[in-house]
Assembly symmetry: D3
Homo-oligomer: 293 residues x 6
């Protein structure tokens, strides 16, 4: 069960409006790696976690915090949109200056016409947030690794936004988000370390016997592209203690595909004379037993 | 530029047809974490990589290999579908037995009616593959971490499929895929190690000065959910050498959101008397200068 | 800012596992009208609301409650999946009985192979949740009406699920959800009443002067389909106090569309002789000034 | 069966071309709440309606009218695009002025490069129209409420577009659309009134006995967010004649979630010692009967 | 403007209910190549066509007819769903027989729980119809070719459904749809013939001078895959009267990609020493002029 | 199995950076008809082809070539983005000129903030590539026709881009792509000719007996739209040698839809007195046998 507190976790007030920054921040609110992704991924993983209370709690702590980050971003996007131009397009053209032209071109039209100058739940190109962006697999190491990626990509996007604005209010909030994403990267990396120590570095654990044995399969980089720069891996030590090999000429062990045709009833292009297919269809229409299919 | 070799990288021949397994394998071919995701993510990252030839080559080697894995899966799905029931639905009902009933319910109808008993590019629920599933950020550490996740989630799904079939042909191919995903997890983990050593564990590098300083921001887990199990993190050492802190009672530093209203022209619900909005609209219709907006 | 409480708002424990019910409940968790839609729609509307504290608070109360309902559903879906068959497909076929066949066909394969028998964030056909499902327009009456729909469609789906299971635990939770959806329908209907009273029944307020005047436009049902049953509306009183009219033969006031051709440079099919287009292209290649475009 | 008439329902001719307005109007043609949504939602509902001829006819009348509105918008978008700049990007840069810059930034590139300066079936950000936007539930009250929302959100968007252009032709058509959306809101509100009178205000009818009894469940607003502004609802009369209650401190009636682990074969992170999982996998490989799962 | 006639274009009454057939027919109503695709593609193309009245009219005739086909399918899907099992899942399990098991597994759960046993606007796997499926390019030859594909894929799917049911009512309607798709394939093929005769076989016309001259580029099949079976094309006559060539060994004319690094401000992985990036960030924070970027 | 060659198939180097062109080229890389669509459609069709080695090889040759074209486009997009403005938005506003304003508005913000000035796998509006764009049906004629469309729409878009830039490097590459798309259109047209000769012009073959006989169904254009311009088809010869007919007044052969109501348990709006529904629900709750459903 959840409770909302009235105060924000941190300040979210820009110095002034700027609809282009508002559009950019949509990526961080509703994009592939935005706060919505963090909130719903960690929370769903937390709800699905069985036992492992330490990690379950960590996931729920962080998922809930991201809900607060979503709120900060939505709040700031509102402020950034407040002075967006709402004159007629013709008036804007008559008085046009480059700055207005940039805003007209660069702001998200849905901010004005769909959301009434409020935040949407989409990215900087207006793509709606999608559960395609998240995973909850039941395997904590696989999912903690995903969470490290979410925090890495998000912090990268936040830093790019930070460096491309001078607004002290926007920078202050982004600076705070970066700090939190430092913590979140480090905590999820820590969870990965612990889980790797317990279950080994290869997900999923307990399945090494299920796979093709021999290091030519499990520890060899095949050179499928012409360059040999990746050969640098040769002899390096893998996380599981074994050495990597490099094979400059991958073997084709499988032979050529050798498919048999689908039944004629599907009207695929047949490998042979198609006339029988017509017969078959006619028989069916006439209610005959169709035995040859 | 790419060249196709006629032979498969490995065997891909089931012992017998089974349309339910075919549907399950679609997840591994065209699902969120399937081979298509690996192929297009690694390849696009490789094309976008500047300098760093060792990693560029590694990405292109592996992306190209995944193209071959897609081919193996598509080939096997064809074979698994060959004896799918194509009798009339009424005939199947008349002769129905539980095994046929399971197939009727459990196979993907698009395999028969859209793809002519061939492979599609969708997951086990028929969702089309989407570029929502991939990322190429320009930051190699962020992307290599994503690649580790791709291999982890994929190997997890492959092992689940392995353990839920007895078909020796399917198992043989899945066993091979698992071996390759062992290599790929280990190689991308290795790249992460090297990149972390060079740039530090927090993505992106060179931005530590941009964030809110003080370990209360960057190394503190806030307890946003009631349980205290996550407190176990307290005092543990983070990947960057610092200690984690734990704060059981997160501070609300931001005050309450305090928004001003959007211009009346947007017809949002106003905080005040709406009568002026009508006035404004009428003036515009009459061509008067609208100065109060 | 948000806080998670450890206890659920209500019981969420089925009598026994049933993966088909688990799949059905995904619709209520992650479908078009599910709890995720309620949570994110109301919450985003609440964050975007300016002034109107009574409604802002109502939206945030209810959005936060739905977060708790998501948790209840995710928890129950876990339990419903616990005894899902994980034998090999061949073993299941050997021992097959109709009940197992139904489960094999009717359960969501992603529950097993993607989510590890945990909840996903998708609907009963595996479509990922999408922000296409929500709206925050800035106009409270428009959005409160949406919220009434969300609660109506959700309660309809919940009741259908209630009536098609006998599991006392599932029924108990669904019964609770229905009760809450009664409250939520009634509260959002109340908000609509109040907002209609203040701003009039037609969204948006303050724009009646902007529209084509005359009741032949604003209060007339045009009979675009052959039947005349809809004529029953004639003479009925509309919410704004005026009478409805009925026009059995809609006027075509607009004339035929009369388009001019797009510039030839676009290589649309031209209305005239295409030879000039070739000329134009050749001139451009030769660096001539292209004046005729 | 449907017939197309050659003339438009109303004028659709702008004074002059303006590709930015063309992009904005895409929202009204192919966006979440656009005419396509109205056309397909009402029509599908109409086709699915059984008995209730008055409403079936109303739905089909209005759905068919929206098809004509789609045509008007597509026609106007063509005209608005006719003078879109098709010079080379370099030529535009050489002669650039702010107005051209705004158009370059603000027009939809797909209008030129995909649609040949014709209309697309997407919104103002280029998102394709999706059946995610519509519903046909079989319950007329639930669906009529949806239809009221469609008309409300659409009229809101149309008014925003009206107020942000001076083009008399565009305004004339938008003014007509607003008038029709006044009628459609009022007619669907009327249908809601009648259906509520017959079946009660809570969807679906006939299910009050299925829900948790007691007004603490069905008529109580729980205060899940800190503010108390929503307490204003206390004592107000709900649409069903009962009074609302307000509970400032929601009860957690459900206890903590208490999940059991999924079978080890799924390779979820186990709550206990994982060694048995390896055993299990090995046994399966060796063809042993797997009884412990 | 459009008018609906009350009668269907053709009979649409199954002999008896069958929810599995209902699900299959969703592919033909709302799938990638279904009637919705035909209706909206041809209609949008028709609206966008300038001049060329013969083709504009043909497109609008056929698009309008498809609207009637959608209606026939939606009507039949309703009938096919009428006796879908609505007992409790437990009751169905108790009395289960293979036929019921097949239905439980094979029917679309959204038909029951979302649509109230009415038609949806999605395909046989529940994917919502998407405007991703259609095109209107402004070039009639390109679009008429698309229309031929739509009719070809649709008739293929209809025939597969025809052959896999014995229901005389379903067969009668599908037989009619196949006949109409014969006409539509032939009419669009005819339009292609005429447009090819006028503009040449290569879309778009009037651009042959814009492309790399020399038959080694325009009439040569490069052998990018190992097999030589495609060499059969060598010497065959292309639609434009020229002969095809075959090149067994494709030339790599382009050299290796040679990218320069993106600006450091983006925090991509740099090719050189990253220390300067930190400097740059610090300078920006301190308000210094950032000149080196 | 696939191998990557280090060199590009053709030059891909622009004269100078231009982020607006980069955005436009995304349509050709990752849009509905872009190279990704070609690569994955032809390749999947090739993998699924049984027998018919000539066409299987042709598909795999061309699919593999498109992989190389994707690489050329991704490479060029990188170069076109290299000088994209990365100053702060405020700095850009201070120094703003129309050219910069156009870039700010016209470039894809995800290029900078998500992809680090590298290529994405999306179209010119940022929509992610989707497998909705491709088909592999098992019927070669249906699919070869699709492939002709892919090449036609792609070449149309390439020519539009060619004509709207002066950059010699961009033009050189686009000119090469156009030449290859000439070859690919012609080769797929050739395949269509051969397949039509063998199987007849109507897809699928062998099903003429399954359809409603009589030329009033199979060779008649029905005039569903008021204009008579399409009557020009009357008497023309169809590809199968028969003459077309024209019917100016389409017959409604099907009668009015006549649906029966869904079971009351679904809580659809009933055609009759709803009181029984309440009864039914109460009985179920009380555990009575529900016989009337």
């Amino acid at each position: 069960m959840y409770i909302r507190k009235s105060k924000l976790q941190y300040h979210a007030k820009p110095e002034k409006s700027n609809p282009i920054i508002a559009r950019r921040l949509q990526e961080i609110l509703g994009g592939q790696w935005g706060e919505t992704t963090g909130m719903l991924a960690y929370t769903l993983q937390g709800w699905n976690t069985v036992g492992n209370e330490k990690y379950k709690d960590l996931l729920l702590d962080t998922g809930t915090e991201e809900m607060g980050h979503m709120e900060m971003l939505a709040t700031m996007i509102n402020d950034l949109l407040r002075d967006a131009p709402t004159d007629t397009i013709e008036e804007l053209a008559r008085n046009s200056d480059p700055a207005t032209a940039a805003i007209l071109g660069g702001m998200d039209p849905q901010h004005a016409f769909v959301n009434g100058l409020g935040a949407g739940l989409s990215d900087s190109n207006g793509n709606p947030w999608s559960a395609n962006f998240i995973i909850s697999s039941g395997n904590l190491l696989a999912d903690m690794r995903f969470n490290v990626v979410r925090e890495s990509q998000a912090r990268l996007q936040v830093s790019r936004n930070f460096l491309q604005t001078e607004d002290k209010g926007v920078r202050d909030m982004l600076s705070y988000l970066m700090a939190r994403e430092t913590q979140h990267q480090l905590q999820f990396l820590k969870a990965c370390e612990e889980l790797e120590e317990k279950y080994g570095p290869v997900v999923p654990h307990g399945t090494q016997d299920l796979q093709k044995q021999g290091k030519e399969f499990t520890h060899t980089l095949y050179n499928f592209s012409e360059g040999e720069a990746s050969q640098a891996l040769e002899g390096e030590t893998a996380r599981d203690g074994n050495k990597f090999h490099y094979s400059s000429d991958p073997i084709m062990a499988g032979g050529e595909p050798d498919l048999t045709a689908a039944p004629e009833i599907l009207r695929n292009t047949p490998p042979e004379d198609p006339s029988t297919a017509v017969e078959e269809g006619r028989r069916m229409l006439e209610g005959e037993q169709n035995t040859s299919k």
